[in-house]
């Protein structure tokens, strides 16, 4: 198997004023995946990404990125980064912002020009590329931000809250871009607290709370553990049927029947029972714990564990 793109063994950061933003993080990001780092505000997500991109220094740091120790400047040539609350010099045009990013990564304007055009097109900013950034809306700045992060054809891409301020259509486009990058073999690391965004693209997620990783794994695995069937009926059930259903270990709540577990075989007796009593079934659907529920649950747990 290919070595991980990001292999952190121990990353700790204590800010001046004794805020322990990261308490010794260890995590691995496999190549070619989309990795989502989730966490409530102040969890330390941005701190971690800023350490990896050498914006801030870790207090203690053991680990590798793209096969080099963290802080190794030349390896940043293959890293793209969209910072949180990105602000571009307002005297530049959108195109110049992207060209600046390319230049700092070592590409001349000529070398980068076709890629710059393609990226401006990709993020839907081609018609605006000649205008000054100061005339852009928030979402437009974010689009240019994504283009500048991609301009050096990164192997590893950090997006810190990429959909911040972007309209629904733009969000979908960003998701498409992320998928496309993955297809091109780029590893994408996304920081967010917008869970619905990740659910549709992330392969792996980690949940960070108060500077510690509380859960990490494949999105599938993490959310599979809690599955249930939900049956919606056309009309309410009689009390007798409700009672009998409960003996089949189904739960009835406001006209819906909930059945724990993801095994379809075990559901059949419930359906048989309902059909036998000529109850009209409107729909049956299999629910899995959404990332949001997982997130809230995990964060809640970590809060409770806190010795206060």
């Amino acid at each position: 198997m290919e070595p991980p793109v990001l292999d952190l063994k121990h990353v700790r950061k204590v800010y001046k004023g004794k805020v322990e933003a990261l308490q010794g993080i260890a995590l691995q990001v496999p190549p070619g995946s989309v990795f989502g780092l989730l966490g409530p505000n102040g969890a330390g997500k941005s701190t971690l990404v800023k350490i990896l991109t050498t914006i801030i220094r870790a207090t203690e740091c053991e680990g590798e990125m793209l096969g080099q120790p963290i802080g190794h400047k030349p390896s940043l040539q293959k890293v793209g980064y969209l910072p949180e609350h990105a602000r571009f010099p307002d005297y530049l045009t959108g195109r110049q912002v992207v060209e600046y990013s390319a230049g700092m990564a070592g590409f001349t304007v000529r070398q980068a020009s076709s890629r710059v055009e393609a990226l401006l097109e990709l993020v839907g900013m081609r018609d605006w590329a000649q205008r000054k950034v100061r005339t852009y809306s928030k979402g437009m700045k974010q689009r240019v931000g994504i283009a500048q992060a991609l301009v050096n054809d990164p192997k590893l891409l950090f997006l810190d809250e990429p959909t911040d301020g972007v309209d629904p259509e733009g969000r979908r486009e960003i998701r498409e871009i992320v998928k496309r990058m993955r297809e091109e073999g780029c590893t994408v690391f996304i920081n967010t607290h917008l869970l619905s965004e990740l659910e549709q693209v992330a392969d792996r997620v980690a949940i960070l709370a108060k500077g510690a990783l509380v859960r990490e794994g494949d999105l599938e695995e993490l959310t599979k553990s809690k599955e249930e069937y939900e049956i919606v009926l056309a009309s309410p059930l009689s009390d007798e049927l409700v009672y009998k259903l409960e003996t089949l270990s189904a739960v009835v709540a406001n006209g819906h029947i909930l059945f724990k577990g993801g095994d379809p075989k075990q559901l059949q007796p419930v359906i048989d029972f309902l059909r036998h009593h000529e109850v009209v079934i409107q729909s049956i659907q299999r629910n899995r714990l959404s990332l949001e529920e997982l997130f809230l649950e995990v964060v809640e747990q970590s809060r409770n564990e806190e010795p206060t």
Binding site: Y15, I55, R57, Y81, P83, F88, L92, S101
Partner: protein, 324 residues
């Protein structure tokens, strides 16, 4: 290398976007034009391309005094008043926010996350900020250079020394701005501290200069005992003055480099005497040139560069190790 060019190009774009840059450039052009409009004829001199003219015994076409006056107007009036006074203030105001803006959250990340060392970014950004002054003084001095050819008939490249010298003065003060803004991220604090250092240097230059004149030059009465008593005071003032950047003397150093009438060295004594005309008492003026040249070039520029180097090293060190 590409990164350095990118940073410099960015600095240039930044300047271009500042209204103050164009205003200063416009005034520079205007002052240059005014300078060019001064002409000399057989009987005297004229202003505004001949609009106003008056007769003068010394300042007329072909006279060596005319060249002295023409160069003197540049080095003694325009350079100290416009270039190293108003233009520097405008320059400080328009460039002081470069570092705070660059270092603000959401914008510093774009540059620091690149495969370029922080020190390189810092130094290039610093040099890029000096572009403001370089363009202003450069344009202006080149105008003067052509004006001299037009009015005096000879090329005098020695006036171009004013470009590096003015740039030096600006760079001393800009080092103060950079250090203060790297620490505080406050543009206003940067400008205030730079003005404070500048003012301090101006005062100390006057104190040291006057003590020197009183203690060492003959023209000041010649009371030997009093001169002896003043010498320790002079030495104390030198000690204090040494740590400051020598803004005024750096410009005055140009006097030693500029050629007038084919000879190296611009004489303030001669220039003042020519301006005062018949009323001049040459004896009173004696010693001015010595006083202006009392300190060696190594002292004037060397110690100022040490000042600049220390401030920049400190600022660079802070820039390289802080968290953003």
């Amino acid at each position: 290398m590409i990164a350095i060019i990118t940073l410099l190009l960015d600095s240039y774009r930044l300047l271009k976007a500042r209204a103050l840059f164009w205003i200063t450039l416009g005034i520079s052009g205007l002052v240059g034009l005014l300078y060019l409009s001064i002409g000399f004829n057989e009987g005297g001199m004229s202003l505004f391309f001949g609009l106003v003219s008056f007769e003068h015994e010394l300042f007329r076409k072909g006279s060596e005094w005319a060249e002295l006056l023409y160069i003197g107007i540049f080095t003694k009036f325009i350079v100290p008043l416009w270039i190293t006074w108003i233009a520097i203030i405008l320059g400080l105001i328009s460039t002081a926010s470069i570092f705070p803006d660059f270092m603000s959250e959401g914008s510093i990340e774009l540059s620091l996350s690149k495969p370029v060392s922080r020190l390189k970014i810092f130094l290039t950004k610093y040099l890029g900020s000096l572009l403001f002054m370089l363009i202003q003084v450069g344009l202006f001095t080149v105008l003067v250079f052509f004006a001299l050819k037009l009015r005096m008939g000879t090329w005098n490249p020695s006036v171009l020394w004013m470009v590096p010298l003015s740039l030096l003065v600006f760079s001393y003060l800009y080092a103060v701005v950079v250090l203060v803004t790297v620490i505080t991220k406050s543009t206003l604090a940067g400008i205030l501290f730079a003005l404070l250092i500048w003012f301090g240097s101006f005062i100390m230059n006057a104190v040291e200069g006057n003590l020197y004149a009183a203690a060492y030059t003959q023209s000041q009465g010649g009371d030997a005992e009093m001169q002896e008593n003043l010498k320790p005071w002079y030495r104390a003032s030198v000690a204090l003055y040494t740590v400051l950047p020598k803004t005024k003397q750096t410009i005055e150093f140009g006097d030693r480099l500029i050629t007038v009438g084919g000879q190296k060295g611009f004489s303030t004594e001669d220039f003042t005497a020519a301006l005062l005309g018949a009323e001049a008492d040459r004896e009173d003026l004696e010693g001015i040139d010595d006083a202006v040249r009392r300190n060696s070039g190594f002292y004037v520029i060397g110690t100022s560069l040490i000042f600049e180097g220390v401030l920049l090293s400190l600022a660079g060190w802070l820039f390289c190790r802080r968290d953003f």
